[in-house]
Symmetry: C3
Subunit: 215 residues, 3 copies
């Protein structure tokens, strides 16, 4: 613990809010790249996009470590310690699932990506923007609570939409795709996007918890 004794008692509100916001920014940037990643571009282009998404994922990891280090060396936190911990973890999940999706597209090299991949990536993109807005509200939670609650509801809605798209995709895949290796590839790739939207909804749930306690 490198902090001086007194520093430990100084509330760290701004620091945690800034770091959590950084994690949300990284996902929002990566989500824009995700859109291109599922557009059936040339393989070399997809490889390059996946490389760039990986860079964001590493940035997110570094911020996650900073948040955990802060949690371990700070006595007074602006919100419940577990909520900050959980929020950082699910923000990391959002980024991880996008990165896994991009990586699997490169590794599996499917013959084509269906339109539902783009539809899901668009939802991940929208949801990542909303997550960024909601997390940005934390630094002045009493003022922003009402707007944040609205954003949390939107995340829930988007997750429902993603579920429906993924289900229709699966139904269609199993009914029409005869190449079973492509079935395995596509099911796995699109599942990562569906899990990314689940994770954005989880962000919403934790923010709701923080609102109940602190707004």
């Amino acid at each position: 613990m490198n902090n001086s004794f007194f520093k430990m008692f100084v509330p760290k509100e701004p620091k945690f809010c800034v770091l959590l916001r950084q994690m949300a920014e990284v996902s929002a940037e990566a989500a824009i790249l995700m859109l291109d990643c599922v557009k059936n571009l040339e393989y070399e282009e997809v490889v390059e996009i996946a490389r760039q998404i990986k860079v964001y994922e590493k940035k997110g990891d570094i911020t996650l470590v900073k948040i955990f280090d802060e949690l371990n060396s700070t006595f007074i936190t602006p919100f419940d310690r577990e909520d900050i911990h959980d929020l950082a973890n699910v923000l990391d999940d959002v980024m991880d699932y996008m990165n896994s999706c991009a990586k699997k597209i490169v590794l599996f090299h499917p013959k084509y990506l269906p339109e539902s991949a783009l539809a899901l990536a668009q939802i991940v993109d929208k949801a990542s923007d909303i997550v960024l807005q909601a997390v940005s509200g934390l630094k002045n939670i009493k003022k922003n609570a009402k707007n944040m609650s609205r954003l949390v509801n939107e995340l829930h809605e988007l997750e429902n939409q993603a579920d429906e798209i993924y289900e229709l995709f699966l139904r269609d895949l199993f009914a029409n795709e005869k190449d079973s290796i492509e079935v395995v590839k596509l099911k796995d790739i699109l599942h990562e996007l569906e899990k990314a939207t689940d994770a954005t909804e989880d962000v919403g749930k934790i923010i709701k918890t923080i609102i109940v306690k602190y707004a």
Copy 2:
């Protein structure tokens, strides 16, 4: 926080026990439907059963949210806060895995479901009944502890049986099913039932923890 200041200090024992029991009831009801869901009925019937299971899943979700809201606005809880939190989450998992199983049967529309699917659904049904009995014991834990410990052991036994059935099923599937798309479908569908029994065992573990601390 809508509770008055004083209300926060009133022990909420009955409320938590009632809500946790409601979650267990929902799973027990859904488990009965699950039995029909894996009996190779007409597709339209399966779709209807899956729709009904989804209704129970939503009921469970609403109760889960109530439990979390109570936890966030209650100072004194009848058991450790984390144990109530974890118990609610795994009860939700039991329901979720059943719902996922039903949904996948509808979406994947496999050519047939093997007898091991019914054998697993029967274990999920038995285990859900035992979970309901064990959770019902919480409201008078000192009196019920001995019986609850016995029920926890039964959940452990049932999970072992489910493991064996799932393993024999996998061995048989990979040895005999030549249609690889059916392999993917059935492996996934039955896995949800196996995970449901894992979750009922997890319920048992948390109840055991609560017994150690409070009985």
Copy 3:
């Protein structure tokens, strides 16, 4: 709670360190068996190795239960209660993934296991040894902190190596294996080994947390 009132206040440092070390030992022993398990031996031999790995997995489970029982009946713990809880859980994960891998080799009975399976098993073996060294350091954390930090970095390195091996394997599998049922089998089997190395890295992360707080 069988402990006498006073016993609850006696620090349990040695007990927790001994039990956590036992869990790490069990994985280190099983990891040696894992090496043979992926060497394309006769099926009967593989079945016997998997049986032996299962014995270790059960030993680990028993120790895990002991640790949780201790946590529930001890007021003063040598490290944060949650860190001991999490460390025990991820040590159990390492063992579980190895056991799942062995079990799947037996159940799926793949035509062959690729060289990358052995490469991954070798990393799991190395990582399990390092985990054992790192966990052994806990009983004198102030003295061992520097060496433990070095070991944590090695776990991170090994996990990166495992990721690369698994990715190259997947790329090769999807490009060259035409038997789609073998694709499903091998992807699943090697994934367990990759998850085992993830879990050893998670052990490292928790140990790092404990070092930050207590060394």
